[in-house]
Amino acid sequence: MNGKHDVWELLKECQIPVLPIVKASSMEEVIEVSNSLGYPVVMKISSPDISHKSDVGGIILDINSEEEVNNAYRDMMDAVSQKVVDARIDGVMLQKMAEPGIEVIIGVKLDPQFGHVIMFGLGGIFVEIYKDVSFRVTPVNSEMARDMILEIKGSPILMGARGRSAADINAIINVIVKLSEMLEDNPDIVELDINPLIVYEKNAVAVDARMLKNDKKLT
C-alpha cells in the first residue's frame, strides 16, 4: 500500500505544497496532460512492480515538446517492458520540471521506542555521502524545526553561502511542522521521504515523495 497517489494526496491534505503529478495511460492522454502542464515535463513509469525506476529506463527528464513526449512515451514503454518482462504497467506519471532551487530532504521514521521521528537534511550527496542530517522525536514545533535546520553542518548553504540568495527557511519549517501534525493522526506510517523538497527564495515545493505504511493496521 505505498502508491504514489496515497502519499501525494496525504501531503496535499495537510497543506504541504506539492508539484502536481498527473497520471496518463495512453498516448492521447500523455500528450494532452503534457500540453496542459506546460514544458519541460518529466515522465516516470507507474508500476507496482518497479521500485528503482531509473534503472529500467523508467524516468525521462526535460521533455520539451509534443514530439518529444511522443518519443519519450514510446521509448519508455519499450525499455521497461524489455527490462522487466512481467511488470504490470499502469501508465506514466507526468510532472512539470521543477525550477532549480536548493534540494532538501524531509523524512519520517517510526521508531520502536520513541514513535515517529522526523529527519531533515540537504539533498543529494549531503544526505547520501555525508549523512549530514538532524532528527527530532515528534511532535516538532516551529522552534524545534528551526533548530533542526540550523543543526546540520551544511546549513550555511541555506543561508545564502557563496553569493547565493538565502532559501526560505520558514517554508521548510512549515513543511516539518505540518508533517509532524499529520503524523499524530497517522500512526500507521512507518517511513516517509519527501525527497526532494525544492526550496526557493520564497516558498518550497515537494517534488517527489514515497511512503511505507504498516499493512497490518490497514487490514
Binding site: G107, K109, G115, E191
Partner: protein, 455 residues
C-alpha cells in the same frame, strides 16, 4: 504505591537468605547487616534456624512485624510463590535478584508476565527481576551484592547492566565520588526509567542523576519526565555502532538508526549524553559540586604552557571559547606573574604556583565579565607544593558568584596533598586537562538545557 518503601525501607526481609558464603542470598544479607543500616532485617529460608547470628524465618508470614521491602534471591521455580506470599503479607516493595525471566526470552518472558500480575494484584512495586540490588549510601542500606558502601553524596546512579553497574559503583569508590542511590534496574518489568526519574526528581538527597542505559521502553514518557526535571541527568547509552544494514525503503529509514534517535531524544529531553564511563562520572562529579555556568566562555590558568594549550584545544573541540580578558583584569594579573609571562587568556604563570599567585589570578578572572567558568591547572614539579595553589583556590569566597571552577592537578601521587584540599573544598579535580574540560562542557550543556528544554 510510593517507591519510598524500596529506597528508604524501615524493615527488610531477605528471602532466600543463605548461610553459604558463595550465595547471593548470603552476600546480600551480610551487606545489609554490616553497613550501618538502622532498620530491621529478617532472613527468610525454611532450611536454616539462624543465619549470621540472626533468627531465620520459615516464610515471610512468620515475621512478627510489618515488612516494607523484600529482597528475593530464591531459585526461579520458587520466585512466583514467594512474590505471592509477599503480597499477602502486605509487603510494599520487592527487589527481585532472581534471574531467568524475560532476559532469556521464551518461557522466561511468560513467567515474568505472571510475576507482574502478582505484583499488580497486590499493589506492590518491583525492581527487577534480574536486578543486582539497590544501595542507599545515606541510610547505609546495601541491599545489593556490591562489596562495600559508596561514600554518601548527591549522585544517584541507575544502571541497566548488573555486573557493569557493580564494577562502576566500585570505581566511583576509587574516585571518592559521593553517591546516594545505586539502582540496578534489571529487566525493568515494573519500575522503569521513567518511574525512577520521577522519584529521584523529588528525592532531596539526589542532586545529579547518572544513567547507564541499554534501552528505554517508554520513550515519549521518558522525554516528558526528563524535561520536567531541572536536576542534571547524564546518560551513557550503549550500542552506538550500527547493526547490520537491512533492506531499506527510504533514506530516512536507513539514516534514522536507533542510536541517532536516542541522541535526538536525549537532546529534546535535556539529558546530557556521554560517550564513555569516564565522562559519565567525571561529569556527574562536576555537576554535583559546581553550579552551571551562564555561558561557554572559559578562563584557563596554569603554571605550565603545555597543559593550558591542551585544555584550550579541548575547549575548542567541545564548543567552548577562550575569550580575551578585560584590559583591567589583564593589568591586575600582570602584577602577579613574571614580566616575561603573558596576561592573555589562557594564563600561563611561567612556573609560579604560590598561594598569592593562584589566589589573585583566580579572583580577578572570576570577576571578569568576559568569563563564565574557570579551569585551574597545576602541573606538579619536584620543587612545587601542590597544597599552596589548591588552598588558594579553595579559600576564595565566591559569594553568589555562580561561575564554576574545575581543577586539574597533574603529576600523579605527588599532587595528593593538593588534591585532598580541593576535594574537601568541593572542587571537582581531574588528573588530565581533557577530562576537566569534558566535565565543564557537561556543565555548559546543562545550562543550555535549563534555558531551552526544561519546563
Amino acid at each position: 504505591m510510593t517507591l519510598k518503601a524500596i529506597f528508604e525501607p524501615e524493615s527488610i526481609a531477605v528471602i532466600g537468605a543463605s548461610s553459604s558464603p558463595g550465595k547471593w542470598g548470603h552476600v546480600i544479607l551480610k551487606n545489609l547487616l554490616s553497613n550501618g543500616y538502622k532498620g530491621e532485617v529478617f532472613p527468610v529460608n525454611p532450611k536454616d534456624q539462624t543465619i549470621l547470628d540472626r533468627k531465620c524465618y520459615n516464610s515471610v508470614f512468620d515475621i512478627p512485624v510489618h515488612v516494607d521491602l523484600a529482597v528475593i534471591a530464591v531459585p526461579r521455580s520458587y520466585a512466583l510463590n514467594v512474590a505471592e506470599e509477599c503480597g499477602k503479607k502486605g509487603v510494599k516493595g520487592i527487589i527481585m535478584v532472581t534471574a531467568g525471566f524475560s532476559e532469556l526470552g521464551g518461557e522466561g518472558r511468560e513467567i515474568e508476565k505472571e510475576l507482574l500480575e502478582i505484583i499488580e494484584r497486590y499493589h506492590m512495586r518491583l525492581v527487577g527481576p534480574n536486578s543486582l540490588g539497590v544501595v542507599n549510601a545515606h541510610t547505609g542500606m546495601n541491599a545489593s551484592i556490591i562489596s562495600r558502601l559508596p561514600e554518601a553524596g548527591g549522585i544517584s546512579f541507575i544502571t541497566q547492566s548488573g555486573t557493569l553497574g557493580l564494577a562502576l559503583a566500585d570505581w566511583t569508590m576509587e574516585m571518592g565520588l559521593g553517591l546516594n542511590l545505586v539502582i540496578s534496574t534489571g529487566n525493568k518489568a515494573n519500575i522503569d526509567d521513567v518511574d525512577l526519574l520521577e522519584y529521584l526528581a523529588q528525592d532531596p538527597n539526589t542532586d545529579v542523576i547518572a544513567m547507564y542505559v541499554e534501552g528505554i521502553n517508554r520513550g515519549r514518557d521518558f522525554i516528558t519526565a526528563a524535561q520536567r526535571i531541572s536536576k542534571p541527568i547524564l546518560a551513557l547509552k550503549t550500542g552506538r555502532t550500527k547493526s547490520g544494514a537491512k533492506a531499506v525503503f527510504s533514506h530516512t529509514g536507513s539514516l534514522a538508526g536507533s542510536d541517532e534517535v536516542y541522541s535526538a531524544a536525549f537532546k529534546q529531553a535535556g539529558v546530557i549524553r556521554v560517550d564513555n564511563i569516564e565522562d559519565l562520572f567525571d561529569s556527574a562529579l562536576a555537576l554535583s559540586v559546581q553550579p552551571a555556568p551562564r555561558g561557554n566562555r572559559v578562563g584557563i590558568i596554569s603554571n605550565g604552557g603545555g597543559a593550558s594549550i591542551i585544555a584550550s584545544d579541548a575547549c575548542e573541540r567541545l564548543g567552548l571559547t577562550i575569550p580575551e580578558l578585560m584590559p583591567a583584569t589583564q593589568q591586575k594579573i600582570k602584577k602577579l606573574i613574571p614580566e616575561f609571562a603573558s596576561a592573555h587568556n589562557p594564563i600561563d604563570t611561567a612556573g609560579l604556583a604560590k598561594f598569592e599567585t593562584y589566589n589573585g589570578i583566580v579572583r580577578h578572572m572570576l570577576l571578569d565579565p568576559n568569563i563564565d567558568a574557570l579551569v585551574v591547572i597545576y602541573v606538579h614539579t619536584i620543587m612545587g607544593d601542590p597544597a599552596q595553589p589548591a588552598q588558594a583556590v579553595v579559600d576564595i569566597r565566591r559569594g553568589d558568584c555562580s561561575k564554576p571552577i574545575i581543577t586539574c592537578w597533574m603529576g600523579g601521587s605527588g599532587t595528593e596533598p593538593g588534591v585532598k584540599i580541593l576535594k574537601m573544598g568541593g572542587l571537582p579535580n581531574y588528573p588530565v586537562p581533557g577530562r576537566a574540560v569534558e566535565a565543564l562542557a557537561s556543565l555548559v550543556q546543562h545550562h543550555g538545557f535549563l534555558e531551552k528544554v526544561k519546563i
